[in-house]
Symmetry: C2
Subunit: 135 residues, 2 copies
DNA sequence: TTTATTAGACTACACGCGTAATCCAAAAAT
DNA sequence: ATTTTTGGATTACGCGTGTAGTCTAATAAA
């Protein structure tokens, strides 16, 4: 039940960098974002500061510079965000979203096969398992 | 390629009311939200005004009051929002999200069956169809 | 050693959003 | 006819966010 700090869209970009590798200095983060985000270095530093305030990241001091690293896991985030997104747009129901995606999106045969496999697994040992051998 | 106006979270609640039935007067919308959102009537009116400015809704004048109705479809919205959400959190890849959901969420046996059926359909006539009878 | 650079801290500022309150003209009530 | 109510328009205000710039102390360069 950890309280995940709210991370804005711009801040998210910084987090992705730190999730992909850490710890990193501000300059490394700035460099990593270069060309992809078109932000001034100061802008990135502001985002880093805000993430610090929010306790989304922390740092180890090494001499005059800091080495930043995430305090929250990307997985936790994706999980939480997905949950609220789902609630907002689909009223919390997973199935409509899945149906939507399965229908609309282009999936390769391989992907379809994999999804089927996963569904099969769930049929085997899901929590909603009906104890009969259905099918 | 229509430019969908950005709708905030609070505004979304108003939109849902109007999508569910329209046209409606401000008071009807206010009433519909009552008990569920705990907003002062003025707050709802503000949201309505902002949606007007954004051209997300419009109205027909009838005497002294207005009858509001949506200018954008919920489907378009869900579609667009889902797309950007997907991009933000899953790097645009649908499969990871689907896998995530299929794994984490509790789906009933019935739902699982339905999803399988949909996948089967896709196997039959998908655009990526590999012409072999993959078993 | 004096000067220039740089990292991080602090400050800035406009816009969107949540959350209303005030103002005004018209309609309804008295 | 005068007063009250009410719908819509306008205004308010603090917080988060995007997007930086300035200030300061310390380090690096000259």
């Amino acid at each position: 039940m950890k309280e995940l700090p709210k991370i804005s869209e711009a801040e998210w970009e910084v987090m992705k960098i730190l999730w992909s590798r850490s710890p990193q200095t501000a300059n490394e983060v700035i460099e990593a974002l270069e060309g992809q985000m078109d932000w001034k270095p100061k802008t990135v530093r502001t985002l880093i500061s805000r993430l610090l305030q929010k306790n989304a990241i922390a740092f180890q001091e090494t001499g005059r510079t800091y080495l930043y690293y995430p305090l929250v896991s990307q997985d936790d985030y994706v999980q939480t965000e997905t949950q609220s997104f789902l609630k907002r747009l689909y009223g919390g129901a997973v199935k409509p979203l899945l149906v939507h995606f399965l229908r609309e999106q282009k999936l390769s045969s391989d992907e379809i096969s994999e999804l089927k496999r996963i569904l099969d697994e769930k049929t085997e040992e899901g929590p909603d398992r009906d104890r009969r051998k259905d099918r």
